[in-house]
């Protein structure tokens, strides 16, 4: 199989915003809220390779997959596909097509090249059609085969994916999840595609069946020269089948590189946390799982700067302070909590030393010192922080909280503790020939706590929203 220099599928600045408001009337009134499911992703898939796309649920990876095939209309950006054109004198000639520009009938033709395998083997097969009709549907739509030829095709496809041709007359409910997924694969193969987007094809399956399906996909790739985009929520699934991996966080790529690059330093802090969660079969493994604080923020109003800063264990402290990383993370957590709550009581679980009554405590019930130590305990902060400036700002903020001046406390915290990660949006930094990381830690523009705007002005990466 020859590999071409030009990627077979390429996306530029692919963006998909969903309108999360409640329908037409809301739209008229201008109440729309945009869910930024995919936000300006650049993407390349080379011929014959498997690109793993990994991210937590809700990070927009399925949206990305569907937008790539225009199953949902992208809000912005372009998708280029290299279509094989048959010219005399040999194959391999390819011509670039912008999928976002083509007409819907042209797009329908292109569906024979670009296919999709769905996550849920139960809802992706129409329960009212026989397996033969499910696999035969693409043959009918594109007029690939009819009559006996069609039956032959269907039997061949069933055998290709490891099912028995006699299964053609049965209904999906008669099959197990793994077998249904095979049916879904056969359906995608029916049009003889070039690129298949596999949207978490094994995450609904048992571990033993997962391996079978992954192996089947690998065999098919070799046999038919397919290129895969393989979407998964877990690095361990894509580890063995991907040539390259893209790690996605809140609609953006955090890191892209070959599997080797992604699995070895330098790491993006998010990837590092994901990697630490993969259990090792080695009993002597002394891995230490990195726990991410907080939950995935809402894509409706994603965090400014680096979207990972609300959870990043390595979030960068301001240059003027001399702080341990954990302490800095805890201060950030406290600041984010203050930003999110309505009352000062909600900052920490208050406890007056166990008087036994279950009355919820208010601030008036406990002393200033007690409150201070409880807040510090909640966020794993030391009773006194080594850096005196930090300590001063922090205890001032806690004073304000104790006085129920939530707004003042917030202002104090925001003034004193602002990470460059909140302000500057990281760009994809090449950290190797094939490896790019979006993190200020690896950004040349950012060094020793000083942010240097690169000439030309593109680097003034203030939060874009």
């Amino acid at each position: 199989m020859t590999r071409h220099d030009e990627p077979i599928l390429r996306a530029e600045n692919l963006t998909k915003y969903y309108d999360s408001s409640g329908g037409v009337i809301d739209n008229l009134l201008g109440n729309s809220q945009w869910v930024k499911a995919v936000d300006g992703v650049d993407f390349e898939l080379r011929e014959g390779e498997t690109l793993g796309v990994v991210g937590e649920s809700g990070c927009g990876k399925s949206t990305l997959g569907q937008a790539l095939l225009r199953l949902i209309e992208p809000t912005d950006g372009s998708i280029y596909y290299q279509e094989r054109v048959d010219s005399e004198g040999g194959s391999g000639q390819r011509e670039e097509i912008d999928l976002t520009e083509v007409s819907s009938s042209r797009l329908r033709d292109l569906r024979t090249d670009l296919q999709y395998i769905f996550q849920d083997p139960f809802s992706s097969l129409n329960p009212r059609l026989t397996v033969g009709d499910i696999i035969g549907e693409p043959l009918d739509i594109h007029g690939i085969a009819s009559g006996e030829d069609r039956d032959e095709h269907i039997y061949d496809l069933l055998e290709t994916v490891g099912l028995n041709p006699s299964h053609a007359h049965r209904y999906p409910h008669e099959f197990s999840g793994g077998q249904r997924q095979r049916i879904g694969i056969a359906r995608a193969l029916a049009v003889d595609p070039e690129v298949i987007i596999c949207d978490e094809p094994v995450s609904a399956l048992d571990v033993s069946v997962q391996a079978q399906i992954l192996n089947l996909l690998e065999d098919l790739q070799e046999e038919f020269g397919l290129s895969y985009v393989f979407i998964a929520h877990d690095l361990s699934v894509v580890e063995h089948i991907s040539d390259r991996i893209a790690v996605m966080y809140l609609g953006e790529f955090a890191e892209v590189g070959t599997t080797e690059d992604v699995f070895s330093p330098p790491y993006h802090p998010y990837t590092e946390a994901l990697l630490s969660a993969i259990p090792e079969p080695d009993p002597l493994w002394e891995g230490e799982q990195i726990f991410l604080s907080g939950t995935v923020p809402s894509p409706i109003d994603p965090p400014s700067g680096c979207r990972f800063h609300t959870r990043c264990p390595r979030v960068i402290p301001p240059a003027e302070y001399d702080l341990e990383q954990e302490v800095w993370r805890s201060i950030m957590d406290l600041k984010l909590r203050v930003r999110g709550v309505d009352t000062a009581e909600a900052i920490a679980v208050l406890d007056d030393g166990g008087n036994g009554d279950n009355e919820p405590l208010t601030l008036d019930d406990i002393a200033r010192d007690n409150f201070d130590s409880q807040v510090r305990a909640e966020f794993d902060l030391p009773q006194t922080i080594a850096d005196p400036t930090v300590e001063q700002s922090l205890s001032q903020a806690i004073d304000e909280l104790y006085a129920k001046n939530l707004g003042a406390a917030q202002d104090l915290l925001e003034d004193a503790f602002t990470s460059p990660c909140e302000v500057h949006q990281p760009e994809q930094v090449p950290t190797g020939k094939t490896h790019r990381i979006s993190c200020l830690l690896y950004d040349d523009r950012y060094d020793d706590g000083q942010f240097r705007s690169t000439s030309g002005g593109t680097g003034d990466a203030i939060a874009d929203d």
Binding site: F118, E137, S166, E174, R187, D206, E260, L275, G287, I290
Partner: protein, 350 residues
């Protein structure tokens, strides 16, 4: 630390001992059935039918409706363009023949006897013949109206639900407007404008009757289109039309069928109600509701102080039995299809 990870990032087949595929095929069949077990594949409709068959009241309902329909068809001969296509005649008399003109022994409101098993009505016509024949109007209007409204409502609702957005908004506001008026009042207005008669009645009940189907199907479509197989069909390049007719409507059928079955009964009652108000078929027609209307005054007191109960009881019973049987069928279908719905989707484990 993660730096010490010792896994290879080489690509290759995944080897899990004990799970490699040779072992698995040798050891365990992939699913519970084998070719030899020979259980024939049943389509969903076959399974629904076998469940329906076990439902006794539904089968009784089906039998009653079939008998009433057959009796109506075979009550009098049917001729099409002078050609007799149905020569049987179960009803002893023509439903419009006034018997005392030819047979002086018969008088109006004769009570049931062996020669007139349901008695004679106020115009001296044989009630038994009229009841049998009357099924032709009531039953056929019921089926025709439901066929028309269900098909239109189905397409309307499917389009509204499938496209969503503005299209949906406008189409559903139209439906809301129709729902603002009681259906029988709308039918009454149309019949009052157009006058009575068979096709006028069909129109009266069809013109607005589709709205319920439209709303029902729209709701179904909204949930069906979330299924990945709809997206899968689009990914394969299917056109909207084929997605709607091949994937969406067949899956929306069960509630539609249940509602349609029950709706036949409702329409029959509606037709009878208009007939009873004197707005249905022309007076004298052997339609069940119209027959009731003509003997309305006898409900209080008949000629000679006696009440000819047969003149109202039999047409009323005919309406009641037909509607009751239709409802039993509807419930049976509901059970047959519903039970199936819950069984699917969660089957299979891995």
């Amino acid at each position: 630390m993660t730096k010490n990870r010792s896994t290879s990032t080489e690509r290759g087949r995944i080897q899990i001992s004990g799970f490699d595929s040779d072992h698995v095929t040798e050891r365990d069949p992939l699913s519970g059935w084998t070719e030899e077990s020979g259980r024939a594949t049943q389509s969903r409709w076959e399974r629904a039918w076998s469940r329906f068959k076990r439902n006794r009241s539904a089968i009784i309902g089906l039998a009653v409706v079939s008998i009433l329909a057959l009796l109506a068809v075979f009550s009098r001969p049917i001729t099409v363009y002078g050609l007799t296509v149905q020569p049987f005649s179960i009803a002893p008399y023509d439903p419009t023949t006034i018997l005392y003109l030819s047979d002086p022994t018969v008088s109006i409101y004769d009570s049931p006897s062996t020669s007139h098993p349901m008695g004679v009505d106020g115009s001296g016509r044989d009630l038994f013949s009229r009841i049998l024949y009357g099924g032709r109007y009531s039953i056929s209007i019921g089926f025709v109206v439901v066929a028309l409204t269900a098909s239109f409502g189905m397409v309307y609702g499917a389009i509204s639900g499938y496209y969503g957005g503005w299209v949906d908004e406008i189409m559903m506001r139209i439906v809301d407007t129709i729902f603002a008026f009681p259906g029988l009042i709308l039918a009454l207005i149309i019949v009052a404008i157009l006058g009575g008669g068979y096709w006028q009645l069909v129109l009266a009940f069809s013109l607005f009757g589709w709205a319920t189907y439209g709303r029902l199907i729209r709701g179904e479509v909204l949930s069906i289109k979330e299924n990945e197989y709809v997206l899968a069909a689009k990914a394969l390049g299917a056109r909207d039309r084929s997605v709607i007719f091949r994937h969406i409507i067949p899956n929306a059928m069960p509630p539609l069928i249940v509602y349609a079955t029950l709706n036949i009964g409702t329409v029959v009652i509606g037709v009878a109600a208009l007939g009873f108000l004197g707005l249905g078929m022309p007076p004298g027609t052997a339609e069940w509701g119209t027959m009731l209307d003509q003997t309305r005054e006898t409900l209080i007191q008949g000629p000679d102080g006696s009440i000819p109960w047969w003149a109202t009881i039999y047409p009323g019973a005919a309406i009641f039995i037909f509607v009751m049987a239709m409802n039993m069928i509807g419930d049976g279908i509901n059970d047959a299809l519903d039970a199936q719905q819950t069984g699917v989707g969660q089957e299979g484990g891995d």
